[in-house]
């Protein structure tokens, strides 16, 4: 099951984390660098990645962080989640970042560091 939240077609390298993301507290809004050491992608940048994470958590202002990342050209190319939450969905909608929700199995099968292509027209993820 793949559900399209924000449409688009992109190709990029997967940055995958098992941690749900609080965009306000954990991501630098200008650089896209993860600044909370509790995350397994601490000090990595989400810029220009296909960001794969379970779902967003925490502050509702995280939506502005996503919009800010886009303005500073530090946003991910696309986001793939297991569960859609309002903060990530609305942030991606306003910033025009393609976003899809996938099943647990699909989520597990996406490998970190691999190049993938997302096309929401045909709802496919190509490895």
């Amino acid at each position: 099951m793949t559900k399209v939240i924000v449409q688009g077609k992109v190709k990029g390298i997967v940055l995958k984390t098992t941690n749900p993301i609080n965009f306000l507290g954990a991501v630098d809004k200008k650089t896209g660098i993860i600044q909370d050491q509790k995350y397994d992608i601490f000090e990595k940048s989400i810029k220009n990645s296909i960001l794969v994470f379970p779902h967003g958590i925490g502050s509702s202002v995280g939506a502005y962080t996503i919009y800010s990342l886009k303005s500073y050209e530090s946003a991910p190319l696309a986001m793939i989640c297991k569960k859609a939450d309002l903060t990530v969905a609305s942030g991606c909608a306003l910033a025009n970042i393609p976003m899809i929700v996938v099943s647990n199995e699909q989520f597990e099968s996406i490998e970190n560091g691999k190049e993938i292509e997302i096309n929401t027209e045909s709802t496919t993820i190509l490895n």
Binding site: K3, V4, I5, V6, P20, N22, L24, G25, A26, K29, K30, Q35, D36, K38, H55, G56, I57, G58, S59, S60, V61, G62, A63, Y64, T65, Y67, S68, K70, S71, Y72, K83, A84, D85, L86, T87, V88, A89, S90, G91, C92, A93, L94, M99, V101
Partner: protein
């Protein structure tokens, strides 16, 4: 999601860019929460007011959208970065910050919001009748509304609440329906919990819970503890509602919150055993809490600087009732329109660590303000840090 002809026309851009943007957000969030339609809401509470959190791109976005956007329903707003009445006392805050913050404030006022600048709208206004549909973005306020206020809201995002304010509508998501599946019960195993313990319980519950959780083993916490729990829960997860249950016999999956779980939360957020500065208020303090504080501080004075955050409305009431006198005599600085979370009033060139009883505050002090955090319940703060 099914849209009416009028909604579809707005989504297609036939009613201008602003409404198109608002409907794009509502459709994305509706898809995200499996909503089948949009429904009317009667109160929106917006986050995204502090320049420190939304930055230049947020300030520009609001300036642009406020050219033609008008709120359609009662709309309240979250705290700003600082208190304009006291800004001259904080020399380290630069002019650019003040100017951008003023621009954000003015954009919201131009859109027609009620300038409450508070994360505790439930402490300022009487709540509407049971089951009223609202759209609250501030996470502690959304959880409070659903769990203690008998209202119905999603844990809205800054943009989804803004879209709701402008259109008067929100997706009819699960949280807005009568029956919310609540498969998990958290068993509170700590005796005589104080507000810090409740904050930690909330933080834990937010991590393990999904949309809604049951909490057993708790009897009638006071408002301070309830607010602490809402704040903690909103910070760590997606959970938007809790309910106290008397017995966990009939419920499904159970998780204990005991000494070990509490220590884990404490160790994640407490990074030092001493603070250079004390902050009280995230969520901002209500009238009852200021009344309690004034009694606790009678005849005492703080050994270090203490910032006390409450809404402007609550501060005015507290002044009328003379609760502020003892607090200010003790050296407490009462600040409004702002809050512990991400306020630039905390000057990191001057101080390295903050003492607070707020779990929500602790999370953002540690990760965003980037200072040491010393967690203590209010009673211990008064005992240790006043004389």
């Amino acid at each position: 999601m099914e849209l009416t002809q009028e909604e579809q026309a707005a989504l297609n851009g036939e009613k201008g860019d602003t409404l198109q943007t608002a409907y794009r957000i509502l459709v994305a969030t509706g898809e995200a929460t499996n909503a089948e339609k949009l429904i009317p809401i009667s109160w929106a509470h917006l986050s995204g007011v502090n320049y420190n959190t939304i930055g230049d791109s947020g300030e520009e976005f609001l300036r642009k959208i406020s050219q033609d956007a008008k709120v359609k329903v009662k709309t309240t707003v979250n705290p700003m970065g600082f208190d304009f009445d006291h800004i001259s006392e904080f020399k380290h805050i630069d002019e650019d910050f003040v100017r951008k913050q003023a621009s954000i404030r003015d954009s919201y006022i131009k859109m027609g919001v009620d300038p409450t600048f508070s994360c505790t709208p439930y402490d300022i206004f009487d709540l509407p009748e049971k089951n009223t549909q609202v759209s609250f973005a501030e996470s502690n306020a959304a959880i409070f509304a659903n769990s203690l206020g008998d209202l119905k809201t999603n844990k809205e995002s800054a943009f989804s609440a803004l879209a709701s304010a402008i259109t008067g509508k929100s997706p009819y998501s699960d949280l807005r329906k009568d029956e919310i599946p609540t498969p998990l019960t958290i068993r509170m195993k700590m005796d005589n919990p104080n507000e810090l313990d409740f904050g930690m319980l909330g933080f834990f519950a937010g991590k393990v819970g999904d949309t809604s959780v049951n909490i057993s083993g708790v009897s009638q916490p006071d408002r301070r503890s309830c607010k602490a729990m809402c704040g903690g829960m909103g910070t760590s997860g997606t959970c938007a509602k809790f309910q106290f249950v008397d017995s966990d016999e009939k419920t499904g999956e159970k998780v204990d919150f005991g000494k070990e779980e509490m220590n884990e939360v404490f160790d994640e957020l407490n990074t030092t055993d001493k603070g250079d500065l004390i902050t009280l208020g995230s969520p901002q303090l209500g009238l009852e809490e200021l009344s309690d504080l004034s009694k606790m501080l009678k005849g005492r004075s703080f050994k270090k600087r203490c910032m006390i955050f409450c809404s402007r409305a609550v501060q005015n009431q507290a002044r009328n009732l003379d609760y502020t006198n003892e607090i200010e005599k003790a050296g407490g600085e009462i600040l409004s329109d702002c809050c512990t979370c991400l306020t630039p009033l905390i000057d990191t060139n001057e101080i390295d660590s903050v003492t607070t009883n707020s779990i929500k505050g602790a999370y953002y002090l540690k990760n965003s303000t980037r200072v040491g955090v010393n967690l203590k319940p209010l009673s211990k703060i008064v005992e240790d840090d006043t004389q």
